[in-house]
């Protein structure tokens, strides 16, 4: 663990993650790559197919379109509402993204800041939580969505979910 972490185990309940993924509609992905074989591009493409609107944010790709969506240089330049900010930056840079989200939370309606798998900044998470934001660290929304909807299991993964209830069949 880096100096941005206190090393304690992060634990988020399935119901908490499910509630976040059910409540948000528009997700700004900060640090997304326009290259099709990068992890962030995978996550954007997958979450689009699940009905989310993804707004790319990356100063290096501003003005381009990524997967049909205009890319912006910063959160402040994104027009309209942002429900969740998904951070594809390293732990230190993620701190600045969190501060920007705190500053914009009322203007943009930001509810959640989610740091990607492998990214953890405990101090920034504490600032965000104090400002009323829901903070998630070191998780991937694509993997958590897939896990909670039994798609991750198709790849042989341990979803940790056990249920005898019949899920509603969906068009995938």
């Amino acid at each position: 663990m880096s100096e941005t972490s206190n090393g304690g185990e992060l634990a988020y309940s399935d119901s908490h993650l499910r509630a976040i993924l059910q409540s948000v509609q528009t997700i700004a992905m900060v640090g997304i790559s326009p290259r099709w074989n990068r992890p962030s591009f995978f996550a954007m493409k997958y979450l689009q197919t699940k009905g989310y609107r993804i707004v790319p944010v990356n100063p290096g790709a501003a003005g381009q379109a990524i997967l049909g969506e205009a890319c912006y240089a910063s959160l402040a330049e994104v027009p309209g509402r942002i429900d969740m900010v998904d951070v594809f930056r390293d732990a230190e840079a993620a701190g600045a993204v969190v501060d920007e989200a705190i500053a914009l939370r009322h203007d943009k309606g930001i509810q959640v800041v989610w740091m990607q798998l492998g990214i953890r900044n405990d101090a920034a998470a504490a600032r965000g939580a104090a400002a009323g934001l829901t903070m998630i660290m070191d998780r991937c929304p694509k993997i958590e969505y897939g896990r909670l909807h039994a798609e991750l299991s198709w790849g042989g993964f341990n979803s940790r979910i056990i249920s005898s209830r019949r899920r509603r069949a969906r068009i995938l």
Binding site: E9, W36, N37, R38, P39, F41, F42, K45, Y46, T49, L117, G118, C140, I143, G146, A150, E151, L152, S153, W154, G155, G156, F157, N158, S159, R160, I161, I162, S163, S164, R165, R166, R167, R168, A169, R170, L172
Partner: protein, 443 residues
Amino acid sequence: MTGPDNPNKTRFGFETRMIHAGAAPEPVTGARQTPIYQNTAYVFHDADHAASLFNLQTFGFLYSRLTNPTVSVLEERLASLENGRGATCCASGHAAQILTFFAFMEPGDEFVASNKLYGGSLTQFAKTFKKFDWHGHLVDTDDLDAVRAAIGPKCKALFVESLANPGGVVSDLEPLAEIAEAAGLVFIVDNTLATPYLCQPFDWGADLIVHSTTKFLSGNGTSMGGCVIDSGTFDWGKNDKFGGLTKPEPAYHGLTFYETFGDLAFTTLSHVVGLRDLGATMAPMNAFQTLLGIETLSLRMERHCANAQDVAEFLAGHERVAWVSYAGLESDPYHGRAQKYLGGRAGSVFTFGVKGAYEVGMRMVESCELFSHLANIGDARSLILHPASTTHRQLSDEQRLAAGAGPDVVRLSIGLETLDDLLADLDQALHRAAAKTGEKAAE
């Protein structure tokens, strides 16, 4: 290294997970038991969906050589029972071993393994792997200095069995895990004989677990299968040994597995590169039979171990028996480790020595009427074998002795039958073998 704070653990108990993990009701029909998807390929929604699947950008089924919905239920169940992140099932235990090493070994690379492994593993590691220019150094892993001394700069892994077949050796997993971690190696534990019911290798620092699911997991001698389970906690990027996971993969347009998939990387790679190109896929029907077996694993293991303990005690006091190697016996050198690593139960596969060596051993095996003479273990039926003339035949005399398969050794796999019937069969076979070979009965 995983240890007891494993994030893959759930609040559900082992027996609940034996029955439910991976197997929710089928959503379209409501079928409660896992359907057998005897099916090779899966229809795409459209060209973009197909591209997403081929690019590994979405979850889904493409072709059953890589993934199949019945096999994936078994994979999740085994990952759950071992408290791992993910699992890859394949055609056999031997296939699981190739698949495991294939993920990170390059030509010229080395690994260290116990010299007391199952004979088939010793042959695979010491002979067949050489054709890939992979080099397994076989050492006595009870000698920790010998393990350290065998680790060279090209060494990438340490491999042991938690409970060895057939010698009854219980590996000292905790210090071996520390050696592997200090040297930056991946620590692989074959947990076939112990099963996850007796031993939880990730709790002791294993990084990967392999199984022959053919044995106690399927439990009825019906279905071949293997599995490798990833803890998800090994840092493949901590040194430059594991380029297979940390360098761009040309067959997927330069995708880097560890960066893209994180703790899912090993299991993803094992399916979409390993199974794709090695082709040793588990059949859906075998996955179904193995799932059925696992539903009763804890009940069977309790009975297997109880019968084995009583048979071992009976043989230890028998006049035609020279020695018994079973960690359930208090006099056994591995008794202490069985308490620590196996919850005090020593499994149901063990060896004993007949008085009179090779000829008597062979005759004894032939004289059984209830024990089946065959080359398998972990069946509901009791099984018997003379390793020196069968499973360990390919090895040198020295390797056979090191592996606990000397000329007098008889291997038993104790089944679920009535105990008295098992004792009576062994008793008559021991006496008949002695009579046939002219061995004098003890006074």
